[in-house]
């Protein structure tokens, strides 16, 4: 069993990598790279400046990982070191020093270009897509350790991991100097109570929307407006601030305001905002919709099964047929219209914001509708199926009440296939959110995927692909594990040989 699960987990990881790789190759091989600039204001501004445009375009391409871009001065610095006499001389492109540097780079496969208007020289080298893919994976898992920060301006940075207190001395944490983050492991009152900054995921930076922020951070950081509250800074200064101390990371140079508050270089902190992150928003909706749909459809499905052919059953079937037959887009708009005209519920999520319960009602209902239909249909079908099973007949002949038969015999058997789909339903709720989030303008992952594809935020698309794939594959695994808990006959094993113990004749 354990071995089987281990193998399944490994297979899952492989599948996730396969899907992500395919998405990566498709996007970076087949989407024309120039389309990244379609929604780029900066590009539009300098598009009539042929002396600057190539420099901007290539620096972007380097950020996106398409190529290595070396402008003239960077080239010289790399060969002769910064602020040396040779470096200064190298800036003259006719000098022998520059020529030898150029020769070195040409040998490495760089191609040199000269900007006609200014005579400025730069070099680029394409990175093969497979190499980029490998680089993507090698950078994906980031582990924070005390040698991460290499800051020339701060050569005396202490390098240690220690247990220290947080700013207002209310709690202890595993802290670090020399790491990217100041707090490695810390406790607070939000789920899951113990948090870590040691291992993080990196999928590249978001471009052009959320410019320059790592994509994973875009998805996980809080949204909305800042929330200010009194904060005691390490220097003892107390001011109203939105700074969240546990998020602080290294910053090489502090400005004058920051030096009054911080006594070390860990001053790059995220701000406390009033709305959950994109990932959080999607999960909230996914979970709400899931609970809602299961709470409705299982009892209702049971009721329909026990009143098969009666009015309630027929009404339920009509609903199921409606939701399955009508496209999701159509009935979500229909329900939104009903909700807003009859119950004055907001038509879009931002109009009342995430802190008003009313904002959640219509999107949750819209999200739950398709899964209610599916679940209702299957619950009813499994219950009806089990109802005629021999063991149910026998249970009835034992004199058990209908209620007991339903709960103890039929439901438990009918629930097996439903439970198997439970983790998948979570994914369904989040995946279905792509439409719902767009219609209600909910700032979640589903809407982000939509937006990212539109503006060619390629790294973000890959990040979201990775997240959705991981959730989907994980859910299949969880579903399999869950039914082994419910159904004693199912034993997960690769081979059939003799694992079923205790079978005696």
């Amino acid at each position: 069993m354990k071995k089987y699960i281990l193998i399944r987990v490994l297979r899952s990881v492989l599948s996730i990598l396969a899907v992500t790789s395919i998405a990566y190759l498709l996007i970076f091989e087949f989407v024309p790279r120039n389309r990244v600039f379609e929604n780029d204001g900066m590009y539009a501004k300098i598009s009539n400046r042929p002396d600057q445009l190539p420099l901007y375009v290539n620096s972007k391409f380097e950020e996106l990982g398409y190529l290595i871009y070396k402008p003239q001065d960077e080239l010289c610095r790399d060969v002769y070191g910064a602020n040396t006499a040779d470096y200064t001389m190298c800036q003259d492109t006719t000098s022998s020093l520059f020529k030898s540097a150029k020769a070195t780079y040409e040998a490495k496969g760089f191609i040199f270009y000269t900007i006609e208007q200014t005579g400025y020289i730069y070099a680029t080298k394409e990175i093969p897509v497979l190499e980029r893919l490998l680089g993507f994976y090698s950078r994906m898992i980031v582990i924070d350790h005390p040698n991460v920060i290499q800051d020339e301006g701060n050569p005396n940075l202490e390098r240690k991991i220690y247990i220290g207190q947080n700013w207002d001395k209310s709690s202890y944490a595993l802290m670090c100097s020399g790491c990217e983050h100041k707090y490695l492991v810390y406790l607070d009152w939000s789920f899951p109570f113990v948090h870590q900054n040691v291992v993080s995921l990196y999928f590249g930076r978001s471009l052009p929307t959320f410019y320059g922020i790592p994509t994973f951070q875009v998805l996980t950081q809080d949204q909305g407006t800042n929330v200010l509250k009194p904060v005691t800074f390490p220097t003892g200064v107390v001011t109203d601030s939105g700074v969240m101390e546990y998020t602080c990371s290294y910053k090489s140079s502090l400005d004058s305001l920051e030096t009054t508050k911080f006594n070390d270089n860990y001053a790059n902190c995220s701000l406390n905002r009033n709305a959950p992150s994109m990932m959080g928003t999607s999960f909230i909706f996914g979970i709400l919709a899931l609970i809602f749909s299961y709470l409705i459809s299982i009892p209702l499905g049971m009721y329909m099964a026990s009143h098969k052919g009666k009015a309630i059953d027929k009404a339920g079937m009509a609903y199921i047929v409606f939701v399955i037959a009508v496209p999701a887009l159509a009935y979500i708009y229909l329900f939104r219209y009903i909700g807003s005209t009859l119950f004055q519920l907001p038509e879009s999520f931002p109009s009342l914001g995430p802190n008003n319960m009313l904002s959640y009602i219509m999107p949750t209902i819209s999200l739950a509708l398709p899964s209610v239909a599916g679940l209702l249909m299957w619950t009813r079908r499994y219950m009806v199926d089990q109802n005629t099973a021999d063991y149910v007949k026998f249970a009835r002949s034992k004199g058990l009440s209908e209620w007991q038969i339903y709960l103890k015999h039929i439901l438990r058997n009918a629930i097996i296939p439903i439970a198997h789909g439970l983790p998948g339903a979570i994914i369904g709720a989040i995946g279905g959110a792509i439409i719902t989030e767009r219609i209600y303008a909910i700032p979640g992952m589903g809407k982000m995927l939509n937006d990212s594809i539109r503006v060619f935020n390629n790294n973000m698309v890959i990040t979201l692909t990775f997240i959705f794939t991981s959730l989907a594959i994980l859910s299949v695994l969880l579903g399999d594990l869950l039914i082994t808990r419910i159904d004693p006959r199912i034993i997960l094993d690769d081979k059939k040989k003799g694992k079923r113990k205790n079978v005696k004749r």
């Binding site: 099973a389 021999d390 063991y391 007949k393 026998f394 249970a395 009835r396 002949s397 034992k398 004199g399 058990l400 009440s401 209908e402 007991q404 103890k408 015999h409 438990r412 058997n413 097996i416 419910i486 159904d487 004693p488 006959r489 079923r500 205790n502 079978v503 005696k504 004749r505």
Partner: protein
């Protein structure tokens, strides 16, 4: 011989609604069940054996209903019981049923233990611990080795024979007055069949319940039954002691049924089978239902339904052949030789 009647059915008519049509599955059946006896109901598929016994526990399918008659059990007319609550007091505690297929009679995902104890808790108002003790004792009685260890196992960990033993244990958990065994051994292999029949026999001696066997296996009947009722097309056509039914059957249908015993086949010859098919129960049957397939049928058989003729105090048959005006018909030779054949096959008196 004065014996107490424990259950008595009078003119029971059962009908089913099948797609806007009404099918009469049981046509005026009367039956007395004596306390402590073993009655076998035999007949071909669709003759109404199972449907008849289902009326005793109110287990008719939703489209079926009792259209007439009375069933007396413990000063109560079971036909009058309409709600499930009242039936729950009878089912399992007074009249229990063992079904054909032990493989599917038990809930596959609940432990053997809970499936036995739930019925004890329900009917005898015991707590979980007491019920467990009773259940383990029962498992012992039906021949499960290491009952306490196997209490928490699941049905899939039991073999077919073991499961049927558990089903019997569940059925007997509340010491019912009547045990209905609906083809209890059909799904089991021959060696296990004998064990299960023996088990029921022994438990009957110990607990003193009355047994109704539903079967089309005449071997089972010969083994266990004291009385036999032969059913055809929703009616009992002949009943008597097993000795009478086997050695001096009077109804042509019983002759045909007995002639079909594979044991009577002669090597190299075709096995006997009854020609034709039973009449459709969607229409009213005129005359004797077996007349169409009966080589001894007389004109009256197609005109008028025969009454029961008494042969002995315990033996009745519903055929015009027994009417004094009818010509004398000898029963087939194979049937007359049945006794000798059985002795030859089994090497002993089987009955």
């Amino acid at each position: 011989m004065e014996r107490k009647v424990i259950l008595s059915a009078r003119d029971v008519v059962v009908k089913f609604r099948v797609r806007d049509r009404v099918l009469t599955a049981i046509r005026k059946v009367s039956l007395d069940l004596y306390e402590g006896e073993t009655l076998a109901i035999v007949g071909e598929s669709g003759s109404g054996k199972t449907v008849l016994t289902k009326t005793f526990t109110g287990m008719l399918e939703n489209n079926g209903f009792i259209a007439g008659g009375k069933i007396f059990f413990e000063d109560q007319d079971l036909v009058q019981i309409k709600n499930n609550k009242a039936w729950e007091k009878i089912r399992g505690s007074k009249i229990a049923t063992v079904f054909q297929d032990p493989m599917s009679s038990l809930n596959p995902i609940r432990t053997i233990g809970t499936q036995i104890t739930e019925v004890i808790i329900k009917h005898q108002k015991k707590n979980r611990k007491e019920a467990r003790e009773i259940a383990i004792d029962l498992m012992d009685k039906v021949g499960i080795p290491n009952a306490a260890d196997r209490f928490n196992e699941y049905p899939f960990q039991y073999s077919g024979g073991m499961r049927q033993r558990i089903v019997i244990a569940i059925a007997l958990a509340c010491r019912p007055k009547i045990l209905i065994c609906d083809e209890p051994t059909t799904a089991l292999d021959v060696t296990i069949q004998a064990q299960i029949l023996e088990l029921i026999k022994n438990l009957q001696k110990e607990f003193g319940f009355t047994t109704i066997y539903i079967t089309h296996d005449l071997g089972v009947v010969a083994n266990v039954a004291q009385r036999v009722a032969v059913m055809y097309a929703g009616q009992i056509v002949e009943y008597g002691t097993s000795h009478e039914i086997f050695y001096s059957p009077k109804h042509p249908y019983t002759w045909a049924l007995l002639s079909s015993l594979p044991q009577l086949g002669i090597k190299g010859e075709r096995l006997y089978s009854i020609p034709g098919t039973p009449p459709s129960l969607f229409y009213e049957v005129k005359g004797d239902a077996f007349a169409q397939r009966n080589p001894y049928a007389m004109n009256i058989d197609f005109e008028e339904e025969p009454p029961f003729f008494m042969i002995t105090e315990s033996h009745f048959a519903k055929t015009w052949l027994l009417d004094p005006r009818a010509p004398r018909v000898e029963c087939p030779k194979a049937i007359r030789d049945l006794h000798a054949t059985i002795v030859k096959i089994y090497g002993k008196e089987a009955l």
